[in-house]
Amino acid sequence: MSPDKMTHMANQIAAFFKTQPHVDAAAEIAAHINDFWEPRMRAQLFDHVRAGGAGLDPFVIEAVEKDLVAPA
């Protein structure tokens, strides 16, 4: 998937959870991605964050670092 498309999708998810009151947005974002993103998509997201995470919402970066399950 193109990096632009991936960052766009991840940021869209962040845009929802960021606005939810009283939740740990990063944890929710990570949980959502764990539930719906296939391992190779998550791997691409990991790689992108490791490479600096250009274009990603800071909450996505936090989510990846904290709670994203590394693909088997």
């Binding site: 766009h8 929802f16 009151p21 764990n34």
Partner: protein, 974 residues
């Protein structure tokens, strides 16, 4: 075999059933007790006494015009019509007295005097109520000499048309009263010479269909049925070809052309329409293994005896010459197809798939299930992925329509399904239709809705386009909120703002039924003035006062229900809008009883079922996430394999992975992703990058241009199974003829699994349903015997609800307490700008279905030969575009050309088209943006520009050339 179901009680009881206090009367010496308000005719019918009738039918209110149904009632004068006379306590009725017999004979005699006596060669022979009644009243003579009449073109005046032709030669004076047949409708004819002016057709069009296309023109002897206005025929009138009038007509006046050609059927099988999510029940009326006609089934609980043009008439695709009946393979997509045996095709496919998995890994192949196939077939296809490929790469076209419904309702209420049955609309007082166009997309539901609206229920329409429901015959929306595409969340949240800040909430409901913490958060969020209708008016384009009035009506107008469609889901914030809708219903307590609720109108017939059956890559059947070991264990124990705990790829992800080179093989059943999915060029690139694409379909569809294996499919007439409609209703599909290409679709999937080494041994779809019931709690009670007995059943169907569940969340929500979720509006990144200043939104039309693969291969093209671009006259004028001009439609994804239709249904700045024809390929234009939660594509908002053009784009021409190349079939080897 129990396959041939003789419909139970199909008698016409004469007048509609009533509800009321019991009333006891005596008819011909027998006592009968019926509800107050029942007609004498119906009371008699209840005890098996049939009073002769012509103008009465139990799906129409009594009219009382023919006077054939007269009876005598003790203590009353004269001979009242039994159809219009309500019962009374202690009434004593005689249906056969010398006096009424005489009246009836006289009536019949008059009818016959202006009716040809060619019963033997009439298309309704054997199926004509006039004929039956002439027999029933014992008419033996006709004392009128032939005079003025309507049936005899020559004016010679004879009752038999053969005679008439013989006598007419040379002396044809012409008959000024003769009206020729109207054959303009492709499916039925209107022969005025046989009309007895009983008015049933006119009433059916009004009361059942709600179109008001017919009137009785002229008076007395001159009166005849007329479609539309002066100069109209059936085709040019408002008639939508639903067939209700044909069904109602007691004579051959309105008659299916198929019956005219083939004669009357000799048996019938009850089955389910394979088009839309209403899921209408039909009787497939057969003669040998030929289908003579499809007649809506009176006891069908979704349609209650009504139908639309698609289910009723558009089944001819099943015998279209384009159907591919032999399996085909090719090594590369630039080669022509080779016809081969089933065995060779299946082995070729299995070898390739196995090789791909060996080379590129277990997760390099996947499946797409179809919302047009049965539950049993869908279950098997996902089982192929999970149990044979050993991955979760399974998805369904529901991804591209209702996946946000699953997410949104799942998060708020705890189930991914509509809350009501269709009957519920009869109890509703306020209906809000959001992003749906029921008169075109869900016609039979629309007819039932319109009926309720004519009884006084109020309507709110939220749609960028002035859909027909906003104003049509005897229906007018109280409020139409013409929002800018993409601002659904802002509008729904503003409605909630009004309800909360004006104190219109149902506090008792919220306290008892909803999660209080989430409610407090939501209150705080939604009462912020930035969500007020005034604050969002410039964004949404909806006048604040109108929005406020609509919100008040929804909250306080009595039982309020919401029906929504793809105009809600197919957006970047599709899931958020579904959540917003769920919030509205909870705020106002409109959930958990008849007449209220949240109802997704599903596009294709089995969208609900395909989601239920575990088509999604993260969910096992019954919506259980694959991460849960206990859910996996059920299947692991049964299938003897290990289920992958990781979610699989969704359709757009599959295509992305294909372009990246990690996804190589696809088995695609009954779907045409190249035409139906957004951003056609990207889909084509993904397909072209795969090494084994297996298309399993009736026709060489667009996706097959990129396929290596083609497996012929079976139509719904050729297989057994079940469909689940938008009300969660599981309906039987029954095989009425043998599969034309040898195998039903479920058998083909099983053969492919076997070729890959599986040991499946199903011999009938009922065994597949048994496995589904054994493994899925909400289906635990479903089996074919129960479906045969009850006709249909709505899930959950299990020990707690042995006969199914018409209404959900009655006592409490599925998840316990209803959960409010904050719905912040986030603008889509698809924005208009100088290059693309207009917004395109898409939809569908009544006579065509989805990508049109079926309907384009029927006479339905009489109504919709091509896709048109609807554009506001103002936008057209500034671009120099006139009605019917070719225009170029371009977006950042691509461009195409089609013809313009100028209409003020659209607001300026918004254009609209349908996607039924592959030559137009509206999806070349749509982008890869999608719903944040589910990746459901954003079909409904694309920034576009429009300019005059003189013909197809280069891309369209290249596409057509590639398609022609890819569709070549080598003659079979000797």
């Amino acid at each position: 075999m129990k396959d041939f179901i003789i419909p139970s009680d199909d008698r016409d009881m004469g007048t509609p059933a009533k509800t009321g206090a019991p009333v006891t009367l005596t008819v011909d010496g027998f006592q009968v007790t019926v509800p107050e308000g029942t007609s004498v005719m119906r009371a008699a019918a209840e005890i098996g006494i049939e009073v002769p009738k012509l103008c009465a039918s139990d799906n129409l209110e009594a009219f009382g015009s023919c006077r054939l149904c007269v009876v005598e009632i003790e203590g009353r004068r004269g001979t009242p019509a039994s159809c219009t006379t309500p019962v009374a306590e202690g009434m004593v009725v005689n249906t056969q007295t010398p006096r009424v017999k005489k009246v009836r004979k006289g009536v019949m005699e008059l009818y016959i005097s202006d009716h040809p006596l060619d019963c033997l060669t009439c298309s309704a022979n054997g199926d004509c109520e006039l004929q039956d009644m002439a027999g029933a009243v014992g008419l033996r003579d006709m004392r009128y000499t032939s005079g003025r009449n309507h049936y005899d073109a020559s004016g010679a005046g004879t009752l038999a048309q053969g005679d008439m032709r013989a006598r007419a030669a040379g002396t044809d004076l012409g008959n000024p009263d003769y009206i020729p047949k109207d054959d303009s409708n492709p499916y039925f004819s209107y022969d005025p010479s046989k009309c007895i002016v009983c008015n049933r057709c006119v009433r059916a069009c009004e009361e059942v269909q709600g179109t008001f296309a017919l009137t009785i023109e002229g008076r007395g002897f001159d009166s005849r049925v007329k479609a539309g206005n002066a100069g109209d025929d059936f085709l040019t009138s408002d008639c939508v070809s639903c067939g209700a009038c044909v069904q109602a007509c007691p004579t051959a006046t309105l008659q299916e052309k198929s019956v005219v050609e083939m004669g009357t059927p000799d048996r019938s099988v009850v089955t389910t329409c394979a088009y839309c999510g209403v899921g209408c029940s039909f009787k497939a009326e057969m003669k040998g293994n030929e289908l003579v006609r499809m007649v809506p089934y009176k006891h069908g609980k979704a349609n209650r005896g009504h139908s639309c043009v698609k289910g009723r008439f558009a089944y001819g695709y099943a015998h279209h010459p384009d159907r591919i009946l032999s399996p085909m393979i090719r090594d590369r997509i630039d080669e022509p197809w080779r016809e081969v045996s089933w065995e060779e095709a299946l082995n070729f496919a299995a070898q390739r798939l196995k090789r791909l998995q060996a080379t590129y890994g277990r997760r390099s192949i996947g499946v797409i299930t179809s919302s047009r196939c049965t539950n049993e077939e869908t279950y098997l296809v996902q089982k192929l992925a999970r149990g044979v490929f050993l991955n979760n790469n399974t998805d369904t076209c529901a991804r591209v329509c209702h996946s946000p419904t699953g997410y949104g309702l799942g998060q708020t209420y705890g189930t991914s399904a509509g809350t009501q049955d269709f009957d519920s609309v009869e109890k509703t007082d306020v209906v809000m239709v959001i992003g749906a166009n029921p008169t075109d997309g869900h016609p039979v539901f629309a007819s039932r809705l319109k009926k309720r609206l004519r009884q006084g229920a109020k309507l709110i329409v939220v749609d960028p386009r002035r859909i027909d429901l906003v104003r049509s015959a005897h229906v007018e929306a109280a409020h139409h909120l013409p929002l800018r595409p993409g601002t659904n969340v802002a509008v729904v949240t503003a409605m909630a703002h009004v309800i909360v800040t004006e104190g219109l909430t149902d506090d008792a409901f919220i306290r008892a039924r909803c999660d209080t913490e989430s409610f407090a958060d939501y209150m705080e969020f939604v009462s912020d003035p930035r969500h007020s209708p005034e604050a969002v008016e410039t964004l949404t384009g909806v006048p604040a006062a109108e929005l406020r009035a609509a919100a008040r009506l929804y909250a306080k107008g009595g039982n309020a229900s919401i029906y929504y469609g793809l105009g809600v889901t197919e957006h970047s914030q599709g899931s958020t809008t579904v959540i917003g809708i769920a919030n509205l219903a909870m705020l106002t307590g409109n959930i958990g009883r008849e007449g209220v609720g949240v109802n997704p109108l599903r596009g294709q017939n089995n969208v609900q079922g395909s989601c239920d059956m575990g088509s999604f890559p993260h969910e096992l059947p019954g919506y259980r996430h694959v991460k849960h070991a206990d859910a996996r264990k059920i299947y692991e124990d049964l299938w003897g394999v290990e289920i992958d705990p990781e979610p699989g790829l969704r359709i757009p992800n599959m295509l992305d992975a294909a372009v990246d080179g990690t996804f190589k093989g696809l088995y695609c059943q009954g779907e045409d992703i190249l035409q139906s999915d957004p951003d056609t060029k990207h889909v084509a690139a993904g397909l072209a990058a795969m090494e084994c694409v297996i298309v399993h379909d009736l026709f060489l569809n667009e996706t097959a241009n990129y396929a290596h294996v083609f497996l012929p499919g079976s139509s719904f007439l050729e297989k057994d199974g079940t469909f689940t409609n938008a009300e969660r209703r599981i309906n039987r599909v029954r095989r009425v003829m043998a599969p034309r290409a040898t195998y039903a679709d479920w058998e083909v999937t099983q053969l492919l699994a076997q070729a890959m080494g599986a040991t499946w041994t199903y011999t009938h779809p009922s065994q597949i349903m048994a496995e589904i019931a054994a493994t899925t709690p909400s289906f635990a009670g479903v089996d074919y015997a129960l479906l045969d007995e009850l006709g249909s059943v709505q899930w959950p169907c299990n020990e707690a609800a042995p006969e199914g569940t018409p209404l959900m969340h009655v006592e409490g929500f599925k998840r316990g307490k209803g959960r409010f979720i904050v719905t912040e509006y986030v603008a889509t990144d698809e924005r208009t700008g100088p290059r693309f200043p207009l917004l395109l939104t898409t939809g569908r039309i009544l006579s065509q279905y989805n990508v049109g693969a079926q309907t384009r291969r029927t006479a339905n093209t009489a109504w919709h030969p091509e896709d048109l671009l609807e554009i506001h006259p103002h936008d057209a004028e500034t671009r120099g575009i006139k009605e019917g001009d070719w225009v170029r439609l371009s977006s950042r994804s691509g461009e195409t050309t089609l013809r313009a239709a100028l209409t003020d249904r659209m607001s300026p700045g918004v254009v609209y088209t349908t996607f039924h024809h592959p030559d137009t390929q509206a999806n070349v234009i749509t982008t890869d943006y999608s719903d944040w939660a589910t990746n459901c594509p954003e079909y409904k908002v694309t920034a576009v520009q429009i300019s005059p053009s003189n013909g197809p784009t280069d891309w369209q021409e290249d596409y057509a050339a590639q398609a022609a190349q890819a569709r070549r079939i080598l003659p079979a080897a000797e």
